[in-house]
């Protein structure tokens, strides 16, 4: 048991908790506004951000956040004027395009190539105290911003015209949501990696849905699911020597499945 409490595990647990607690604040809106593909595109662009940071000797967080912001804003801009393509197709193009180009860019960097798996699936056991600080700082910023805009975002989610008629600006709130999403991608890249960030957004919120009677309850249950998944996934990873990021997501999926089974059980009884 002593290994569980060794310092790197404590750092990993704190990093995982930070991301898992912040993610549902955006995840509920990703689910309500059907933005899962949008999350994918932003997260996949992170691989390009990694390549860029390594090339320019910038902190990885900075490059990832920068590229994710550019990606998110261009997706949002293209969506409003898309030429005869469904939003899902357009995002499919951008999401996989960003991933492919990012992978090529990384392959030109010998040092990064070795670490490719860490950027795709995360390397939570290698986070430093500095990383933990960045993650908790970023998580606090996301929670504060979403908390501040909660009612406006909720109104705009129900109907943007309702928000306009109440003197709000749903376009601006959408941009705030987009920027917060880019920030989360930057925080999560070391924890679960570019490929699984969307999982942390969608799965806890989706697991919470059947048990929630209000938007706030759905957020609260989502945070709980995310926290349990982060800690449980780390435990699983420690016990099975499995990769940590995928283990966290696997526990979240297991919680989702348990919830659905409980619903069916309740209906049968």
């Amino acid at each position: 048991m002593s290994g569980l409490f060794s310092e790197f595990m404590i750092r990993a647990a704190l990093a995982g908790l930070g991301v898992a607690v912040a993610a549902p604040f955006l995840g509920v809106f990703v689910v309500w506004r059907r933005m899962a593909y949008f999350g994918d595109a932003t997260a996949h662009a992170a691989v390009m951000g990694v390549a860029l940071s390594l090339m320019l000797h910038l902190p990885v967080y900075l490059g990832v956040a920068g590229v994710a912001v550019i990606m998110a804003l261009s997706v949002a801009a293209m969506e409003s004027g898309r030429p005869g393509l469904g939003a899902d197709s357009l995002l499919g193009v951008l999401s996989h395009g960003a991933l492919a180009i990012g992978l090529i860019a990384v392959s030109f960097l010998p040092g990064a190539r070795l670490n490719l798996e860490a950027y795709l699936f995360g390397d939570i056991l290698a986070v430093s105290w500095g990383d933990v600080g960045v993650i908790w700082g970023g998580a606090a910023a996301i929670i504060a911003v979403i908390g501040w805009r909660w009612r406006a975002l909720l109104t705009a989610t129900v109907n943007p015209d309702l928000a306009w008629s109440s003197g709000m600006n749903p376009d601006r709130d959408r941009r705030i949501l987009t920027l917060a999403l880019a920030l989360l991608v930057a925080l999560a890249i070391k924890v679960v990696g570019a490929l699984l960030i969307t999982a942390l957004l969608v799965i806890p919120a989706a697991a919470a849905r059947p048990f929630a009677r209000s938007p706030e309850a759905m957020l609260g249950f989502g945070v709980a699911v995310g926290g349990v998944a982060a800690l449980g996934g780390l435990g699983l990873s420690y016990g099975l020597d499995s990769p940590a990021g995928p283990s966290i997501v696997a526990v979240a999926v297991a919680l989702f499945a348990l919830g659905r089974m409980a619903l069916v059980w309740r209906r049968v009884e």
């Binding site: 989610t157 306009w164 109440s166």
Partner: protein
């Protein structure tokens, strides 16, 4: 009477075509104004510009400082992934007190539904919930965009009667968009007939006998009733090419005509 909204020379469009051009519009405190027009005439576009959801291509909109709008949008659909009870919905955009919410639900006749999920309501209940939310901000102006879509005739008549009562009590101005003219027009102070531009405007009896209006909606029982038998793309050069037979209808035929009108719009 204070001017709530004044718009001058509004134009709006998507891509290359103008949906609206050169529209002047105003509404004063306490007025009931109905905007009528066929599908695609720009009614909803005008409403969205007036509430600030859409920027006009040209023209200017002036709102009274501190203007409170109660907006009931056309076709509001709640995503089933969003758990939202009626009572919680009334807290958007700003929390309303428990007592105020209960009183408003009572007033619109759905007090038993406060804790029900919004997504599970019938069409009429749903519109009443939207109306309650709009009224909770104590609006200077209530805007209803095709508020009775999806209701049967009895339901929409009840709904408009409720709005008339509420307006009496609260003194709020009402701006309605509708095609159910027989229900709406008699209660309106002013009717604006829209088809890409303002065709005609004035008191209901004046508008309903205006050639521009008749060209759009045909002639009906003493003019307050529109028959939708005609094609909607009108031309001002060919007035009165149909529906003359109805001009001679007696007044007691009104209800019968209203029923015909309803079936006519449903096709």
């Amino acid at each position: 009477m204070s001017r709530l909204i004044e718009a001058k020379g509004l134009s709006a469009g998507f891509g290359g075509t103008d949906v609206l051009s050169g529209v002047d519009f105003h509404i004063d405190g306490g007025e009931i104004v109905t905007v009528v027009g066929p599908n695609g005439s720009g009614k909803s576009t005008l409403m969205r510009m007036l509430v600030g959801a859409l920027s006009p291509r040209a023209g200017r909109i002036t709102r009274m400082p501190g203007l409170r709008l109660g907006y009931v949008p056309q076709r509001l659909s709640i995503d089933p992934t969003l758990p939202l009870s009626v009572s919680r919905f009334l807290d958007l955009p700003r929390p309303a007190g428990r007592a105020a919410k209960a009183a408003m639900l009572e007033r619109v006749g759905i007090s038993a539904l406060a804790d029900r999920p919004l997504a599970g309501l019938s069409g009429g209940q749903y519109q009443r919930a939207l109306l309650a939310r709009a009224l909770l901000v104590d609006p200077h102006l209530l805007i209803l965009d095709e508020a009775t879509q999806g209701m049967d005739q009895r339901g929409s008549a009840d709904f408009y009667a409720l709005i008339a009562t509420l307006r009496e009590e609260m003194g709020t101005a009402v701006l309605m968009v509708s095609h159910e003219l027989h229900v709406v027009m008699s209660a309106s102070d002013r009717v604006v007939c829209l088809n890409g531009h303002v065709c005609c405007e004035g008191a209901p009896e004046i508008v309903s006998s205006a050639p521009e209006y008749r060209a759009l909606f045909g002639t009906g029982t003493h003019g307050a009733l529109a028959l939708y038998r005609h094609e909607h793309d009108h031309s001002h050069d060919h007035d009165h090419h149909h529906g003359h037979g109805h001009d001679h209808g007696d007044r007691h035929h009104h209800d019968h005509g209203a029923a015909l009108d309803k079936t006519g719009t449903d096709n």
